[in-house]
């Protein structure tokens, strides 16, 4: 739209026609206060904090509902305006309890800030304040009614943003009150958006309320450890007796790909980290058959020595390795490098949640969609999956694009998923009907052809001038190939493949496969890796995960090394299968798998380490160390130590200190969140060697960027905390579409997250609270 020019506080601004005055001001650095206005939500004009004086208009005008006009002359601060705002605040404070000293929002409350600014600290009101007790509406949401200033942000974000519509306004005028959808409690998605967006402390969370004062926390922006969307979450951490505890998660600064969105998992399900029953010392199985605490040296030496003996006597093919969907790229890469070069085996795999190799092969340089692409999308084709449950961040982004930009959503699914409510067109197909749907869309004779609805669906879809095609794990192997083939006949198409966990994508990209090296390089093309690693690599494809269990059952798997995974529970394996296998497990908890181990190492989680992860859309992001727990170590360090205990050459495994020691020792790394990373940037800028330690994940990132072309993205942007979309890379896997189909979707809901989810008391309490409601309904 054409630009209009206006004058605000004597400054000439130029801004597109149709812009709201408040936005025009803000984008030029002029702050106009607002309680009810919130970008992206419908206009409410309820609070009158944003009043400004516009020349030739009779009264003060609300900047949040006025669109800019050519030649407009505006004043945003004047004694008259200050007086009006002060009067507004005085009214709001009329029944406000002023319990700031104990209120969660104290110190970061918009009402406090405005009172401070406009000085409405005296009141003409003499009426007694009406008190109402705080109410608990759900395990997550608490409501303190007298604190509410009736801005209705919560109502709008729940309805418009979440499409849940669980909050309403009852009564009217000054007697209005925010009400939950089940009269005295909430039945909702528990996302906490309403709490986050509340400008005061009226809505508070079970996780955070009365736990801390905001200024007692440090804040670290990192990436959510749960689903594959890779939302940025800013963790509030506070020192405790044995480390750093996480007390809060949010993304108020909108700095990540998720804007200010987080689902319940990103916002509250960090609580597993603070659990009392976390493993904090190594365990070794003693002669009496019991797992007992041991010193680090004892445990490492024992594990290292046994693995070495087994490798030397039975060969690497008798050892298996299972990696994780939630460790960093550096850890996944290091793990497979360790497996291939130190353990001398290709028996390495992980719980596969999407067929990324087939996707990479089908793309073969075609464009993959970043999560950011969904924000500007004109049209989206969603095939399978239920993003509302499995990819809440994506679902939020899709809803937002449909609502604010009129994006058109096409849904094909075998279930009536919630996102159909946003769909321009949708088709319901049988569970095994995806291949024939694609054939039909591609104009080939197919079973759905006679269907009127499908024909209209196809017709509308083919008219789109650009399209994002996003598909769930319903698509594998040849189906992905066919889909990408069809998609490529349409103009301006990008593709996205949905896998389940924070670094499912990274696990696949980094070569946690028995037949593929990092970057999906086939074993036959191992040359560059062998050269870089200075070791001959095993040439034969190794055992995949089910085959490892089969081998164990036959007595052919002498050792198994499991890092951050719980395959015994995931695959319902009979524990007795592993009875003759030397089992080493790294985990946070004594999981079903860890319980069977001979050695267990207490591992740090994703919030307690640095590195990078890749979301399912191929957005690479920096993970920063936020929390800490005495006694635990990152998987990276554990792998390196284990290699050392096996007497491997550590410098080959992690290239560190190659140029000698030239760094500044002044700032010890690791102790404080984020510092290490900033330190690294600073060191590089000073041309000093940032890689002094064998536990330095960025030494491995260097190697990844050298050997996996897709990951060769600008490093400084990444370190600055900006997500970087992977580069399109050519992948040549001869048999990608016909590899064994081992994808096991975890079908998590909003309130589950694999094994990890069962250790979150927030998620558990929500599930428990929901059960009675559900049984009562049938």
């Amino acid at each position: 739209m054409a630009d209009v020019t206006l004058t605000v506080d004597g400054k000439k601004l130029s801004t597109p026609a149709g812009t709201l005055l408040i936005e025009a001001c803000r984008s030029h650095g002029i702050e106009v206060p607002a309680f009810c206005y919130y970008p992206g939500l419908s206009l409410q004009a309820a609070c009158r904090m944003c009043v400004v004086r516009i020349e030739k208009m009779p009264k003060l005008q609300t900047a949040c509902t006025t669109t800019v006009a050519e030649g407009m002359i505006v004043a945003t601060e004047s004694p008259e305006i200050a007086q009006a705002r002060k009067a507004t605040i005085e009214m709001l404070l009329g029944n406000h309890p002023l319990d700031c000293p104990v209120c969660d929002a104290g110190g970061e409350c918009e009402l406090q800030d405005m009172t401070f600014k406009y000085g409405a600290h005296e009141s003409k009101f003499v009426e007694i304040k009406q008190h109402r007790d705080e109410q608990q509406w759900s395990p997550v949401v608490f409501f303190d009614r007298p604190r509410c200033i009736l801005c209705y942000r919560c109502v709008r974000v729940c309805g418009e943003g979440m499409d849940v519509w669980a909050l309403g306004v009852q009564n009217r005028g000054a007697g209005s009150v925010i009400a939950p959808n089940r009269q005295d409690h909430l039945d909702c998605e528990e996302c906490g958006m309403c709490i986050d967006i509340c400008p005061v402390g009226a809505l508070t969370s079970g996780a955070y309320r009365y736990k801390t004062r905001p200024w007692e926390m440090s804040h670290v922006g990192t990436v959510c450890t749960h689903c594959g969307d890779g939302c940025k979450t800013t963790l509030g951490v506070r020192r405790s007796n044995d480390g750093m505890d996480i007390v809060r998660g949010d993304n108020r600064d909108k700095s990540g790909i998720n804007g200010d969105f987080l689902c319940i998992k990103g916002r509250y399900a960090f609580d597993f980290a603070n659990r009392e029953d976390r493993l904090t010392q190594p365990l070794v199985r003693k002669a009496n058959g019991q797992l007992e605490p041991a010193s680090w040296d004892q445990a490492m030496d024992f594990a290292g020595q046994r693995l070495r003996e087994i490798r030397d006597s039975k060969g690497g093919s008798a050892i298996g390795v299972i990696g994780s969907n939630r460790t960093t790229n550096e850890e996944a890469y290091l793990l497979q490098k360790f497996a291939r070069t130190v353990l001398a085996t290709n028996n390495i795999d992980h719980h596969r949640t999407a067929d990324y190799p087939a996707f990479a092969a089908a793309l073969n340089g075609k464009v993959e969609a970043s999560l950011r692409d969904f924000a500007g999308a004109k049209a989206i084709l969603l095939l399978g999956n239920d993003p509302t449950e499995q990819h809440p961040g994506l679902a939020w982004q899709i809803r937002t694009s449909v609502r604010l930009q009129g994006a058109r959503l096409y849904v094909a699914n075998h279930r009536p998923i919630k996102l159909r409510r946003q769909a321009t067109a949708s088709v319901e197909i049988p569970e095994d009907g995806y291949p024939s749907l694609i054939a039909f869309l591609a104009g080939k004779p197919a079973a759905v052809a006679g269907d009127q609805n499908a024909a209209a669906f196809r017709e509308a879809l083919l008219k789109e001038e650009s399209l994002l095609i996003v598909f769930g794990s319903e698509f594998r192997g040849r189906d992905i190939e066919a889909l990408v083939q069809f998609g490529s006949t349409l103009p301006n198409v990008k593709f996205a493949c949905l896998g389940d966990y924070a670094n499912s994508r990274g696990a696949a990209d980094m070569g946690l496969h028995p037949d593929l090296l990092p970057g999906y390089a086939p074993l036959s093309a191992s040359g560059p890796f062998a050269a870089a690693w200075g070791a001959a690599l095993p040439a034969q494809p190794g055992l995949d995960l089910p085959q490892m269990f089969d081998a164990a059952e036959r007595g052919d798997l002498a050792a198994l090394y499991v890092v951050g995974a719980n395959p015994v529970a995931r695959y319902h394996a009979n524990p007795s299968i592993l009875r003759n296998t030397f089992l080493v497990v790294q985990d946070m908890f004594l999981t079903e798998t860890a319980r069977l181990a001979d050695v267990v190492f207490p591992a740090a989680n994703l919030y307690e380490k640095a590195g990078t992860v890749t979301n399912t859309f191929g957005d690479l992001q920096l993970v920063k160390k936020a929390a800490d727990r005495a006694g635990v170590r990152p998987d990276f360090e554990l792998i390196v130590r284990l290699a050392a205990a096996m007497r491997a050459d550590i410098k080959r495994l992690v290239s560190f200190g190659q140029r000698g020691v030239q760094a500044d020792f002044g700032q010890a790394r690791g102790a404080q969140s984020g510092e290490a990373d900033r330190h690294g940037v600073w060191l590089s800028a000073q041309h000093q060697e940032p890689r002094l330690s064998p536990f330095e994940p960025f030494a491995i990132l260097d190697e990844i960027q050298r050997l996996v072309p897709a990951y060769n993205v600008p490093r400084l942007d990444l370190l600055a905390g900006n997500d970087q979309h992977l580069r399109p890379a050519l992948v040549q896997i001869a048999n990608a579409a016909s590899r064994r189909n081992l994808v096991t979707p975890s079908n998590d809901t909003l309130f589950t997250s694999g094994s990890l989810g069962s250790y979150s008391s927030t998620l558990r309490s929500v599930l428990e609270a929901r059960q009675p409601v559900e049984t009562a309904a049938d």
Binding site: W165, L167, G168, N171, R172, A179, P180, N181, Q183
Partner: protein
């Protein structure tokens, strides 16, 4: 669909939702008719209406709570609404209200034990020219005095008794 309403009202509702560009516009009239037939807006009534106009039950409750003439608790057979807004106040509306409280033995928003009368203090009912005024169900009674309101109440009681005797 199974309905809580009489066949005539159900049919009326079926038609009502077709009269507006969007279904939810039928909400307020539907609530009023339902209240007249059922006496108040019970939970099942709310659920059915929410479904009929395609909004959440919460939304229906929001609207009900906005309008003081819509109620979610049973009222008496005769719902006595006494105006105490400015014209009526100046001409003795408060005395009429107090008198009713005493006479019926119930507070504002109360219902008599026999369920015959309920009492409510209301804002202007548009009868200022004949203040003080009161409204019983849909009938207006104007230029009230304590004596005349007694008579009005007596008439309703007699009507009820006659109805019961029949």
């Amino acid at each position: 669909m199974t309905t809580l309403f009489s066949p005539a009202l159900a049919a009326r509702f079926d038609k009502l939702v077709t009269l507006y560009p969007i279904k939810r516009s039928a909400l307020v009239p539907m609530l009023l008719y339902a209240q007249d037939e059922v006496g108040y807006l019970s939970d099942p009534v709310i659920a059915e209406i929410a479904e009929r106009v395609g909004v959440t039950e919460l939304e229906v409750r929001n609207v009900i709570s906005y309008y003081s003439l819509l109620r979610t608790k049973p009222a008496g057979k005769y719902h006595v609404q006494v105006c105490t807004n400015i014209s009526c106040m100046l001409r003795g509306g408060n005395e009429i209200l107090d008198h009713c409280k005493k006479k019926l033995g119930i507070p504002n928003k109360g219902t008599t034990a026999d369920g015959l009368f309920s009492l409510e203090e209301v804002e202007c009912i548009g009868a200022c020219s004949w203040a003080p005024a009161a409204q019983v169900n849909y009938d207006f009674h104007e230029n009230l005095t304590p004596e005349s309101i007694d008579k009005v109440l007596g008439e309703y009681r007699a009507k009820a008794e006659k109805g019961a005797a029949k």
